[in-house]
Amino acid sequence: MKLILILLHVGFLFFAGCDQGKVLGPASKLELATAAEESCGYVQNEFGERVSWKSNLPVNMYIDSSVPDDMAESIKSAANKWSKAAGKNLFNFQMAAKANSITPSIDKVNSIYWSKVWDANKSSQQAITTLSFNGPLITEADIKINAKDFEFYIDTPQNSLQVNFESLLIHELGHVLGFKHLNLKPTVMWPTLAPAFLRLEIYYTDQKTLKCEY
């Protein structure tokens, strides 16, 4: 009798420790639906997974020949600030030999374009960064700068409407990394950028976001 009780006891403890509950969904990916990740400032896919480049770093980007040379330097400077904050190289740039196409397309090539053509009903956009992703992995990123409706400067604005180019790029490169807009200042992911406003450092909030995925 004593032995049966002991065996029952052992059995109970064994199976109590084992209970993992039901596992749902035919594919392992679908199980993610039951455990959506924290957004942590990133775009999330339909399974609730954060979307990022994961370990596919650095992100290799082409700077289209449409981008003026001095502006290309600002892009590299903005990228260096992200890399410094992450403690590793996040971006590599190459100058495109010739203008590939002024319209970003899904071609598995990450490019930055300078566009003098912009839809009238999107004229308030300073730039658009588009990402393509597959599952939780970003597969392509393109940045298009609105050079039709905005004027940009590097060091000193020439008029009261000019927007600091590096401040814009630091934000757009955040989108390239998978960041959403943030409404908690200070952050480089604040949705708007006023003329002459400088946003040249990666803030603590952005560093925290960065650490969630990189």
Partner: protein, 223 residues
């Protein structure tokens, strides 16, 4: 002495199993609340007896489970040239009963919002969204069938010079876009079905719940 050894051995086994359980990926572990959602759905009862009709929020989980149990998503007519019309069907619906009155889902929550998200695309940190706003109307079989027409949505988008965020009114619904890019996405996934009323009481079925219940996401691929 023997007895103590057995107990010690059992405790050791228990600890080893705990370590094994907590070392498995979080995603392999199902929260208790999700099991509850499914287990309760086995109960086919559709009548919710409530003290007053404002009490539906107490029954949210049961109502969602019931709705999901009778849910299907179908392509209206594959042979027609407009291959972009789909129907969300809810064949199991709750009825809210109080001693004074009995209300159907549509009487209680007459507005429906159906949200699709573009699959695999992000514009300025936001996934493009397509939202259909509908009136809740039961059909002759007392089922709820909601039509969504992607053909209309795509046409509206191109006829308005690809405005990324806009609101349109068609004969059967109000269509709302958010964060669209230069082209109308071809791949969409159903991410939210919301039933609500003027008092903003609501039953919201999220993409996670749809995936959890159906086993895979409800997706649409336009041709």
């Amino acid at each position: 002495m023997k007895f103590r050894n057995i107990i010690l051995f059992a405790i050791l086994l228990f600890i080893l199993n705990l370590i094994y359980f907590y070392s498995t990926k979080l995603t392999k572990r199902i929260p208790a609340s999700s099991n509850e959602l499914i287990d309760r759905a086995q109960n086919n009862s559709v009548v919710f007896e409530i003290k007053n009709t404002d009490d539906i929020l107490e029954n949210t989980k049961k109502i969602k489970a019931l709705l999901l149990q009778g849910f299907s998503f179908t392509d209206i007519d594959k042979t027609s040239e407009h291959q972009s019309q789909y129907t969300l069907n809810f064949s199991k619906l709750p009825q809210f009963e109080t001693p004074e009155e009995s209300l159907s889902l549509c009487e209680k929550l007459p507005f429906i919002e159906i949200q699709f998200s573009a699959r695999g695309q992000v514009n300025n940190g936001e996934i493009p969204k397509l939202i259909f706003l509908k009136k809740c109307t039961l059909n002759s079989k007392k089922d709820l069938s909601i039509e969504v027409n992607f053909y209309d949505a795509k046409n509206l988008f191109s006829s308005t010079n690809s405005n990324p965020s806009a609101n349109y009114l068609t004969a059967s619904s109000s269509i709302y876009f958010k964060n669209l890019g230069e082209t109308f996405p071809d791949d969409w996934v159903l991410t939210n079905v919301l039933f609500y009323n003027q008092k903003l009481e609501q039953i919201a079925i999220s993409s996670y719940e749809l995936i959890l219940y159906l086993g895979n996401p409800v997706s649409v691929q336009l041709h």
